[in-house]
């Protein structure tokens, strides 16, 4: 599928434009894994289709000198832009092969994250594959999943989230997979002070989930990886989207779209109106 991927990877590797190319390949059983290719001869392993859910930006090192070619969907592309905006990534090192992502399916149904996908094309790329019949999306769409929770009463929401947070086993898979989590030492591992208690109990679980979400406010690009890897099925994607909505409504900032913009939480305007209590942040 999409022979352009193979061609481009080969061309870049042969021209010594990149040291390695990161993409997807399919195993014999049909499952998909991310691969890193350094030899132009290996390019026929590359694949794109259902199952290519991983955010390939989770598989790169933020620093170093390696020149990387990378295959990015819309959400993954936003990850890269956000990392550049935060000053974590040297864009020069990367050659991006973007794709206008047709959306991925699982068991014949669109993945949850694709159902509410806002941007299916990387905002920044060197070359772009535009499959026939796939439209470029660039507008927010009705988020039924989120609004169904928004419509609950506050007490119902509390009940819902309390139940969700109670399930957490603090495996930190959400954190480990998140391409935007790059702190050297996570707050949850700090002991002076110990903001988050180590033991697994409702209060510390809630604390962890709240601070994890807040840390991604104005940063999360909705790649859905945390949600995918959560073994107990906490709807992390909804929480993240809620925060994205709050930030967008207040500050008109959408992360991962423009590397030149200062991230919302590192910025301010003298006339920010977010304190206006009459206005809901959703």
């Amino acid at each position: 599928m999409y022979s352009e991927i193979e061609e481009t990877a080969k061309r870049w590797l042969e021209a010594d434009k990149i040291d390695s190319f990161i993409g997807y390949s399919q195993r014999s059983d049909g499952s998909v894994k991310p691969v890193r290719i350094t030899d132009p001869a290996d390019v026929d392993n590359l694949y794109f289709g259902d199952g290519c859910v991983h955010n390939l930006m989770s598989f790169i090192k933020l620093n170093g000198d390696e020149r990387i070619g990378i295959f990015l969907k819309g959400c993954d592309g936003r990850t890269m832009v956000q990392l550049v905006a935060e000053g974590e990534l040297d864009r020069e090192r990367f050659s991006v092969l973007g794709i206008v992502c047709p959306g991925l399916e699982e068991d014949g149904k669109p993945l949850p994250k694709c159902a509410f996908c806002r941007v299916n094309t990387p905002p920044d790329y060197d070359e772009l594959i535009h499959p026939e019949g796939v439209e470029i999306k660039d507008e927010a769409i009705e988020d039924e999943e989120l609004s169904s929770i928004n419509e609950l009463t506050r007490a119902e929401r509390f009940k819902f989230f309390r139940h969700q947070f109670d399930k957490c086993i603090r495996c930190y898979a959400c954190r480990d997979v998140c391409p935007l989590c790059y702190c050297r030492e996570c707050v949850t591992e700090k002991s002076s002070p110990q903001w988050v208690e180590v033991s697994i109990k409702p209060s510390s679980n809630a604390y962890w989930n709240l601070i994890r979400a807040y840390h991604l406010a104005g940063r999360c690009v909705n790649c859905g990886e945390c949600d995918r890897v959560c073994p107990v099925g906490i709807p992390l994607r909804v929480i993240n989207r809620k925060l994205a909505n709050i930030v967008e409504n207040y500050f008109e900032y959408v992360p991962g779209m423009n590397p030149e913009l200062t991230p919302a939480m590192l910025d301010f305007r003298e006339d920010d109106e977010c304190l206006d209590h009459g206005r809901e942040g959703s």
């Binding site: 620093n63 935060e86 702190c183 050297r184 590192l266």
Partner: protein, 656 residues
């Protein structure tokens, strides 16, 4: 385990009348880290302090909680007590039992409960305090003054007289600034040049002053006591060492361009000296209008120069200086009156600006001090002054009052009267603002003795008719529209910040307001300091002001500089942010939110980390709240300490 002493003050009856001191003591005694808890009538008194000192020795205390008044009141007092007792002064916290408790509580029960909580919270915090040492920074004993107007001159001279070396950087070819253009000064009618030019000469000859004219500051890095400054000396094309200022070159130059110094009322040559008394006296070649630089031919000046001082090959030169302090005195520029199309400035020749009027009445000006109107050289018999052009006008100019224009206009009117005794002089104002020594009297003199018609009303329109200007306005005292026929109209344009003020502010890292005027640190109490330690302000760059004020501010800045540079080292309160290099990810979000540019990149174990500049950090903690990996800490207000305070509050069950 800490050994903490708790000292509860009655403050006479201020606290004890509302707070059950015994219960506070009792509750404090039961806290794990507390070694002793005692009370006293007035803990801040000498016996009260002695009680603390004695307890420190007796119980070998390593931390102290004083439960008394607001720390904003007595924190320094008790810090000193600790120091006197041999304990690190930063091992102390105050619980505010007076302003925040006894004085505001509705009943004794509530006040006592709050007092107990506050003491417990402070004990928890003190248990996590660390001894802090004052920060000492080395000092370079040299100052930089930016701007060579009257404020810059005064600041440079005062600093230099105090025995400190000064580098003065001035953008134009000569010292003097706007004041050199003026004819007389209000309210004494002193000749501006007579009081300014001697000072200019003094600057040039002062052994402690290095004068860089035709130069601009290019880059400033570093922090208080150790600023590194790069200045660019523009190619003057005249060798300052060789030139003797004879002026022969000026006579032969064939180029004529409008003179900036004469506000375009006269021409100057391409090799020019802004005015005869310029310091340095050596001229400069304006390469943009010089024929040689445009076509490669001419060199007339070179041929006649007896000193062989002309150097067409000269290049811009970058000099670097290290200074301990900086005085910014970059001045202002006049509001461009062309925006007021209703007054026709720029279209009607006889509508002139205030600065042009100064040049017209100045003996060194284009008319030799004779007041003649520009269109036909006629002596104007009816003269109108219009106040507030660009000031107090958010629609076309600036909302603020420029402060000097009322007085300047009164001065101009009086000068006009002396030059043309039979002239009709009108002055249109909104309000007269003459707050200053002798100012009001001067305005009254203009009105009562010099027969100047002050008319309350802001003119709406000037119409040209048969070589006359018809000024239409209201006379608010009559409540009627009036029309005044004038031969000449002088627009008293307001003061605006320099066009590139914001650039300079960003280069220096100092604050500026929406107009481009630099911000003082505190409008009342720290009027010449900026938010950046070691950078001070003088003159109009901070906001509109008159000459005496500019000079006073310059001297104030100079005294601040001398005070700062009189020490070998600068001591600063140690409450600043610090980075844990092991934890820092190097995301540099802290740098992003720091207003004071106190964070810079550093390297640790071959990776990028943040580093706090102790001389620059002001200790606000914005970076600490931003740091998600918890690598940034604010001393005396660390996460750990505040966490302890919060959790200590809820450590005991209270009845709900």
């Amino acid at each position: 385990m800490r050994k903490i002493g708790v000292f509860v003050c009655h403050c006479g009856t201020n606290i004890s009348s509302m707070v059950d001191i015994d219960r506070v003591i009792e509750s404090a005694t039961r806290l794990p880290d507390v070694a002793c808890a005692v009370d006293y009538q007035f803990t801040c008194s000498a016996p009260g302090q002695t009680q603390i000192k004695d307890a420190i020795k007796e119980y070998n205390l390593d931390g102290v909680v004083v439960a008394a008044c607001s720390p904003r009141m007595h924190e320094p007092t008790f810090r000193k007590t600790l120091r006197d007792a041999g304990l690190n002064p930063y091992m102390m916290e105050m619980a505010n039992l007076r302003e925040h408790t006894s004085w505001v509580a509705l009943n004794r029960g509530e006040a006592t409960a709050k007092a107990i909580d506050l003491v417990r919270m402070k004990v928890a915090k003190v248990a996590r305090l660390r001894p802090l040492e004052e920060i000492h920074l080395p000092v370079t004993r040299r100052a930089l003054v930016i701007g060579g107007g009257v404020a810059g001159i005064q600041a440079a001279l005062d600093i230099a007289d105090g025995g400190v070396d000064v580098t003065l950087v001035e953008r134009s070819p000569s010292l003097g600034g706007h004041m050199a253009q003026y004819d007389k000064t209000f309210p004494t009618l002193d000749c501006a040049s007579c009081i300014l030019t001697p000072k200019m000469v003094e600057v040039a000859s002062h052994p402690n002053i290095t004068l860089l004219t035709y130069s601009e500051v290019e880059e400033v890095t570093g922090f208080v006591g150790a600023y590194k400054v790069k200045a660019r000396i523009r190619a003057r094309s005249v060798d300052l060492e060789k030139c003797n200022g004879c002026g022969t070159c000026l006579e032969v130059c064939p180029v004529r361009v409008p003179s900036e110094f004469d506000a375009s009322l006269a021409d100057r040559t391409a090799i020019y000296r802004p005015f005869p008394q310029a310091v340095p006296a050596a001229p400069a070649i304006d390469r943009e209008s010089c024929i040689y630089f445009k076509t490669g031919k001419c060199r007339a000046c070179e041929k006649v120069c007896p000193a062989d001082a002309i150097d067409f090959e000269q290049e811009n030169e970058i000099v670097e200086v290290q200074v301990g302090a900086i005085v910014v005195a970059t001045g202002f520029h006049f509001f461009d009156a062309r925006k007021y199309t209703e007054y026709g400035y720029g279209s009607y020749k006889d509508v002139i600006s205030w600065l042009q009027f100064e040049r017209l009445t100045n003996a060194s000006g284009p008319t030799g001090g004779k007041l003649r109107r520009p269109s036909d050289g006629m002596e104007p018999k009816s003269i109108v002054f219009i106040h507030c052009v660009g000031s107090r006008d958010p629609s076309k100019g600036f909302p603020y009052c420029s402060r000097i224009c009322c007085m300047a206009t009164a001065k101009h009117a009086v000068i006009t009267r002396s030059k043309i005794p039979d002239a009709k002089i009108y002055s249109f104002y909104i309000d007269i603002r003459a707050a200053g020594k002798g100012y009001e009297e001067f305005v009254r003199r203009a009105i009562e003795q010099e027969d100047v018609q002050f008319i309350k009303g802001r003119p709406s329109r000037i119409v040209q008719s048969d070589g006359k200007l018809l000024v239409r306005s209201e006379d608010a005292f009559l409540g009627r529209q009036i029309e005044v026929e004038a031969d000449m109209v002088i627009l008293t344009n307001g003061a605006a910040a320099q066009n590139d003020a914001a650039e300079l502010a960003q280069m220096l890292g100092i604050g500026y307001d929406q107009y481009g005027f630099f911000n003082e640190l505190h409008p009342k109490l720290r009027p010449v300091e900026t938010n950046k330690a070691g950078i001070y302000l003088a003159g109009m760059c901070q906001g509109p002001k008159d000459i005496p004020e500019s000079v006073a501010q310059a001297s104030a800045s100079a005294s601040k500089v001398l005070g700062l540079l009189s020490r070998d080292q600068i001591a600063r309160e140690p409450i600043i942010a610090e980075v844990d290099p092991g934890r820092c990810t190097g995301c540099m979000d802290c740098m992003e939110v720091c207003f004071f540019t106190a964070v810079e990149e550093d390297e640790f174990m071959e990776r990028k980390i943040a580093k706090v500049l102790p001389g620059v950090c002001q200790g606000c903690g914005a970076c600490v709240a931003q740091c998600s990996d918890g690598a940034m800490e604010l001393r005396a207000f660390s996460d750990e300490q505040i966490h302890a305070e919060i959790t200590a509050l809820f450590a005991v069950e209270v009845a709900r």
